[in-house]
């Protein structure tokens, strides 16, 4: 069923009785060409592009809960392409281009809104680092504009320019940066994949990976065994457990990242704003809630909930930077489980098992990567070759030292 404004009106006139399910609820078949473990954003986009780009449609996506129930449904929805290091730069650039056509591609309004991202800096040294990054963005073909203090004031007059603990020197504006409606991205890809014949199987937990003589043969699930020629592990947040089923020990530590949303408010923040000194980022959703977050809780956890010290730290950062949000009330806080890798960059690679592929380590930047991650994972699984823009996301790079450490914080998992 094709969605459009006209369709909304005609259905509305006839009691909205004509809307059909966004996806089927198939039972798992005994065998597929490809099984994707994980029905989150990355898994769904992988399945979508396998079908769309490579014509591989005998595909199942196995999801232990509900589609889009992982981090794609619990993040701060920021979409950007503002990386410095070659390897990351071209990948996120590619992803942003896919975002820009996503509504038309999926016939689904994911509300991708390029309202501009401003990274604030608070010292000469930070300015230089952001300029270095901004120039890399332009070298890559993306956009960046250097704002001085007055330039920032024009965009964000509500910041505390006089008293904040770390004065605002300026900002790096990424005009094409912005946000999107997170659930819609998962649903849009799910609907698109389903339409192309992919079986989306919910409430189906993978309990084992069948390997014979170093070759993957299929998976064991709570809904029975499923044979597959190729299997992709796309389960950020649970990567270590699933990879362990194939005897792998990953360079991943799981951490909880909290995020917050306030009650609805009339529009007051029109950009995505990021505070360099305080690990604080904020935007306002179309519904009016201020959506914001900060750093990890910093201890390894699978609890999908956080504790107060980081909550308070984030709120304090908000208060020093933009005290006008003080009377907004936090409605809900939640936690997502992050695959933290030792250099802060992801992994899209083959494994030591033939036919078994790995997509993980998204740290807390996975949402914006959803389109390109699926695109490149599909390419890898279809051709057995890494996609050009993801070729540095190798699993062995920690052993070899070919690192992608944007922050320069080193091999400690939780510092990225």
């Amino acid at each position: 069923m094709r969605y459009s404004g006209l369709r909304v009106i005609t259905e509305g006139l006839f009691g909205n009785r004509g809307w059909t399910p966004a996806w089927r609820e198939p039972s798992p078949k005994a065998e597929y060409d490809v099984v994707i473990i994980g029905g989150g954003g990355h898994g769904l986009s992988t399945a979508y592009y396998l079908a769309k780009n490579h014509g591989i449609t005998n595909v199942a996506v196995l999801e232990k809960g509900y589609l889009g129930g992982g981090n794609v449904g619990r993040n701060t929805t920021i979409v950007r392409a503002n990386y410095f290091l070659p390897g990351n730069s071209e990948f996120y650039s590619h992803s942003l281009k896919l975002w820009e056509g996503l509504e038309a591609e999926l016939n689904y309004n994911v509300m991708h809104s390029q309202r501009g991202l401003i990274n604030l800096f608070h010292s000469d040294g930070q300015r230089d680092a952001f300029v270095r990054r901004g120039n890399a963005m332009i070298n890559q073909g993306d956009d960046a504009i250097l704002l001085d203090r007055e330039g920032v004031r024009e965009h964000l007059p509500y910041l505390d320019f006089d008293n904040t603990r770390f004065p605002i020197y300026g900002g790096l504006l990424h005009p094409r940066g912005g946000s999107a409606r997170h659930d819609a991205v998962a649903w849009g890809y799910a609907r698109g994949a389903d339409k192309r014949g992919v079986d989306l199987i919910q409430n189906c937990e993978v309990t084992g990976i069948d390997i014979e003589n170093g070759v993957v043969k299929g998976v064991q699930t709570t809904r029975g065994a499923i044979r597959a020629k190729k299997v992709g592990i796309v389960v950020a947040g649970r990567s270590s457990q699933v990879a362990a089923m194939a005897g792998m020990r990953l360079p991943i530590e799981s951490h909880v990242l909290q995020a917050f949303v306030t009650e609805g408010l009339k529009p007051v923040i029109n950009h995505v704003v990021s505070f360099g000194m305080g690990h604080f980022y904020i935007s306002q959703s179309d519904k009016g809630g201020l959506v914001f977050g900060g750093d990890l809780d910093f201890y390894a956890s699978y609890a999908a909930r956080g504790n107060l010290p980081m909550v308070e730290h984030v709120m304090e950062a908000g208060m020093t930077l933009m005290p006008m949000i003080g009377r907004a009330k936090v409605l809900r806080s939640w936690g997502g489980i992050m695959d933290m890798s030792p250099d802060g960059s992801p992994i899209i690679d083959r494994t030591h098992v033939e036919g078994l592929y790995l997509n993980c380590g998204w740290n807390y930047g996975g949402f914006k990567a959803v389109p390109a991650s699926g695109w490149c994972m599909a390419h890898l699984m279809a051709t057995d070759q890494p996609h050009e823009v993801a070729r540095k996301f190798r699993l062995d790079r920690f052993a070899t030292g070919h690192l992608l450490d944007e922050e320069g914080t080193g091999s400690q998992h939780n510092l990225h």
Partner: protein
């Protein structure tokens, strides 16, 4: 309308307040909602999406409709629950989320368009043309959405945060909570009792009744008096426990000053972190609405709220009240209204076997299937069997049963359990370790049940604490069974609201199921049910039931969404109290701070420290003029700079040298006493962690210096290496950063200046250290240089720092020198090719900065092994170089081969530090360039798109000034 003789308000204390520009009168003890209702104001808000007229639905913090803005003298607060906000003299409020007036809201047009605005409609449209999303559709949606407004002005209010500790935290002060607090209190346990409302008592205040043979109010007063007298019991009024966190930590929000006119220093709110060994959740239950067509008009209210307004506030919502309820308990309100002289038009009880004893029409087996009244209820339509009839009424009290207030038990991922008898979720035992739910919060719906379970939980807690439970007789109380027939939604024409706050109707939930959003999480996300300010408190269970019905599953099978903190919304300012302005992080000040400010130096942040940027002289108009002068001053005469911010770690013991050998790449155990050595420290992953000099003060005594930025990091690192790998070594260390004020004295006249301060003659070799006496004070003198000139650092105990700095500067000035700031310091070090954290930014190895020879081959050290990884070596790596240019250049620029295209693939490196060198008369830079050390002498193109800089530079050695080091060793 106010009812004489009813209510707990203080009728001797009238209060004037305003709503939407109009003056009203209420009494002390009123909430804004009760006072407005007393003034017959029923219309108080507009709904989120359809802008439907809305009135007060509840009498508590779960209110979905009556959200207003409170206007203060300096700022406004949006989304304030009128049902919680107490009135006080001068309170100014207004309605929100309307275009035009509350009565004539232009956006009410949305309500006419409802067939097109159902669940998820926006996912299916607004896609074409692409550019219209940001340009037109989204701004329109944004403007229409949202509720109240922030002013955009800084919140200058006072907020506080605090910690509290107790043995037993009791949450809620109804019969269950009071009984728990009394039991634990009498046992001598340390008790905190939190009550969300502005009076203790919970439903006692609304429902009356008898406890222990006396009116419940009297029992309440007695218990409160005893609790107040117990020194081990702390009563916290207006305090909502908002979150349950790990290991007995609870978040709680106290409304400290919100019920009074603002006063200086009196906080508006206080966010508490309460640590409790045991907690008793006695938060009661929330009554739930029934979804029948047009069930959202002003005048339709929960039956328990009608009862609260009557008994606690002496207010009736209407003159002809109707009751639509499916429990026996709800009948009480009808009887009490009649007793108070209010007409009860009818009781409608959908249960076919319901009783009928009241002195008013009782429609057993009836259902409300429609309502009338544009801005307030005027009548309802009732269906009873095949018959349909109208009833004129201005207030419909409704009840669909009760949901235990179990939210806190879900905050640690616990899932509640479905109780078929109660037709409600009840807490899963042990979901929050240490927390026990009692009373209605645990499904014990009678007063007797509340008292029994509250008592039992407290007994259990005090016994676990090793105390003896007191001999406390349980007072007698009502113990009627709670019987209901679940009624979630009434079929009928039109929309029936589930989620009032987000305008989600039964149609939306059914549509979600129809479109495949059958998981409860999908339904919630697709319809936005449960995501409004009330967090689904009024709608979750009913929505779930409608979904279960639509998908042909049972409720337990359908599952439930999770409740997450906070229980009620908490202001950012309260949780972020103290963070405003400078409060976000401590400020660290040098002893020379005032002296620098006295000289007009702009102070800049260096980590938490404040350091002088430069010291302007009369006639200088730009920082560059001052900086250039200060550089020349150091190169030609002498300069003084406060370098006390550098980390200093005192290391002692027989194994001190061995320890340094382990943490530094180079060797310190061979350093002679009285000498200083530059050291390079790696992270275990082979990258540079920090650099600095360490001095050997004695055979077993070293002093390590770290950079300002990494001082804390290095201390933590040393502690780890020591405790993890060599705890048995004879080595101890402690930070002495704060103990010493240390000043760099650099330049050709440095020795003369330093000498003038010392009792002994200065005869230190380059990289030497000696104890000295400065005006009778013990000090230390280091001959080290970060400028390339002959340099010293003179250290004295911090208390003498200011005096020494002033004196040093004064004497330097007589020699043609003076103080220099961070800008000049930076130029001096770039000219000399010294690196800072601009260069050692975390991705850099010893090899990258040309220091691989400093990694001793003779010994192991932290980071040595991992630095051998192939990716950290070779010509692909960017290596530290110098750049020289005749035109302005910039840090952050990237480097390209002249003539080649500019894009990512041709990128050769980047610039980390830049300065104009008055010494060399050129622009200098430190940069990282691919295979850079082999490219000295090459021309390279420096491009900074952001600043519009495109300059050809010469690649050279990073040491520009005095490469042979003759000046240093002079």
């Amino acid at each position: 309308m106010r009812i004489d003789g009813k209510g707990l308000i203080d009728r001797t204390k009238p209060v004037r307040f305003r709503f939407d520009g109009k003056d009203y009168a209420g009494y002390k003890g009123d909430t804004l909602a009760s006072a407005l209702l007393a003034n017959d104001v029923r219309l108080v808000g507009r709904s989120f999406k359809y802008h439907r007229p809305r009135g007060v639905l509840t009498a508590g913090s779960e209110e979905p409709n009556a959200l207003v803005e409170v206007i203060g003298p300096k700022n406004q607060t949006p989304n304030v629950r009128a049902t919680v906000q107490e009135v006080f003299e001068g309170l100014e409020t207004r309605s929100q989320n309307r275009l035009g007036s509350l009565r004539f809201d232009l956006l009410a047009v949305n309500d006419l368009l409802w067939p097109f605005l159902g669940a998820g409609f926006y996912y299916k449209t607004f896609m074409w043309p692409r550019a219209f999303w940001e340009g037109l559709y989204e701004p329109l949606i944004r403007r229409a959405a949202g509720l109240g407004s922030l002013s955009g002005r800084h919140d200058e209010g006072t907020y506080e945060k605090a910690f509290a500790f107790c043995d037993v935290l009791v949450i809620g002060s109804g019969p269950a909570g009071l009984m728990a607090a009394l039991t634990a209190g009498r046992a001598g346990a340390d008790v905190i009792l939190c009550e969300e409302s502005h009076a203790f008592g919970g439903r006692i205040l609304s429902d009356g009744g008898t406890i222990g043979g006396m009116p419940a109010g009297e029992w309440l007063a007695q218990v409160l008096a005893e609790l107040e007298a117990l020194p081990n019991v702390r009563l916290m009024l207006r305090t909502t426990v908002t979150g349950a966190y790990d290991h007995g930590t609870y978040g709680a929000l106290e409304r400290v000053g919100l019920h009074k006119p603002a006063r200086p220093n009196l906080s508006r709110e206080c966010f508490w972190r309460i640590v409790a060994k045991h907690a008793v959740l006695a938060a009661g239950a929330l009554e739930r609405p029934v979804a029948f067509p047009d069930n959202d008009r002003p005048g339709i209210m929960l039956a328990s709220a009608v009862r609260t307004y009557l008994n606690r506030y002496g207010v009736s919502l209407g003159k002809r009240v109707t009751l639509f309820a499916n429990t026996d308990q709800a009948r009480a309100v009808a009887r009490e209204l009649m007793a108070a002289g209010v007409t009860v038009a009818a009781i409608i009880d959908p249960r076919p076997d319901a009783f009928s004893v009241e002195d008013c029409p009782v429609h057993v087996g009836g259902e409300v299937i429609g309502t009338r009244g544009r801005l307030g209820l005027t009548g309802i339509t009732v269906r009873k069997g095949a018959e349909t009839f109208e009833i004129e009424t201005d207030c419909l009290a409704m009840s669909g049963g009760w949901n235990p207030t179990l939210h806190l038990t879900c905050h640690m991922n616990g899932r509640p359990r479905w109780d078929e008898d109660l037709a409600a979720f009840v807490p899963m035992e042990g979901a929050v370790p240490g927390l026990v739910a009692v009373g209605a919060a645990n499904g014990s719906m009678s007063t007797h049940g509340a008292l029994v379970t509250g008592h039992a939980a407290a007994v259990q807690a005090v016994q676990a604490l090793g105390r003896k439970a007191p001999d406390l007789p349980l007072p007698e109380a009502e113990d009627r069974p709670y019987v209901l027939k679940a009624l979630w939604a009434v079929e009928g024409k039109g929309r029936a609201w589930l989620d009032f706050a987000n305008d989600v109707t039964t149609k939306d939930v059914k549509l979600a199921a129809q479109e495949g959003f059958r998981s409860v999480e999908h339904m919630k996300r697709y319809t936005t049910q449960g995501m409004a300010p009330d967090q689904g408190k009024n709608s979750n269970v009913a929505a779930l039931a409608v979904l279960a019905d639509a998908t042909g599953r049972g409720i337990p099978e359908t599952g439930t969404t999770t409740f997450r903190p906070p229980y009620t919304p908490v202001s950012i300012a309260a949780m972020g109290a103290g963070g405003r302005a400078e409060g976000f992080a401590p400020q660290r000040f040098l002893t020379s701070d005032q002296a620098s400010r006295d000289r007009g130096a702009p102070m800049i942040e260096a980590g938490l420290w404040y350091r002088p940027s430069y010291f302007p002289k009369p006639g200088e108009t730009t920082w560059r003029e001052a900086c250039d002068r200060e550089v020349r001053m150091v190169r030609e005469a002498v300069g003084v700079a406060d370098v006390s911010t550098l980390g200093k770690i005192d290391i002692q013991g027989k194994d001190a040298g061995r320890f340094l050998d382990f943490v530094y790449t180079n060797t310190f155990s061979t350093l002679p006493v009285g000498r200083v050595r530059y050291g390079l420290m790696l992270r275990e992953d082979g990258h540079v962690l920090d650099d600095g000099t360490s001095a050997r003060l004695g055979e077993d005594h070293y002093l390590m210096t770290t950079t300002t930025a990494a001082a804390g990091l290095v201390m933590r690192h040393l502690d780890f290496v020591h405790q993890a790998f060599c705890a048995d070594w004879q080595v101890r260390f402690i930070s002495v950063t704060e103990s010493w004020a240390q000043f760099a004295v650099a330049g050709p006249k440095a020795r003369a200046l330093v000498q003038s301060f010392l009792e002994e003659t200065v005869d230190l070799p380059f990289m030497g250290v000696a104890p000295v006496r400065v005006g009778g004070v013990k000090g230390r003198l280091f001959r080290i240089s970060f400028s390339g000139e002959e340099g010293y650092e003179l250290a004295v105990p911090t208390r003498y720092g200011e005096a020494l700095f002033r004196d040093l500067v004064a004497r330097a000035e007589t020699m043609g020198g003076g103080p220099y700031g961070m800008e000049a310091l930076n130029v001096l070090r770039i000219e000399k090719g010294f690196i800072t954290h601009a260069e050692i930014h975390g991705r850099v190895t010893a090899h990258d900065i040309g220091m691989e020879k400093m990694v001793s081959a003779k010994k192991d050290c932290i980071g040595k092994a991992a630095a051998q990884r192939p990716g950290l070596w070779g010509p692909e790596r960017e290596q530290l170089v110098g750049l020289k240019a005749s035109a302005p250049i910039s840090a952050g620029a990237h480097l390209f081969v002249p003539g080649m295209e500019i894009h990512r693939e041709t990128d050769q490196g980047y610039v980390t530090s830049v300065c104009w060198s008055p010494t060399l008369g050129a622009w200098l830079a430190l940069a990282f360039l691919k295979d850079g050390r082999n490219r000295h002498g090459e021309k390279i193109r420096l491009v900074d798109h952001l600043r519009g800089i495109d300059v050809i530079c010469e690649v050279c050695d990073p040491v520009f000034h005095d490469p042979a080091g003759e000046k240093l060793r002079a």
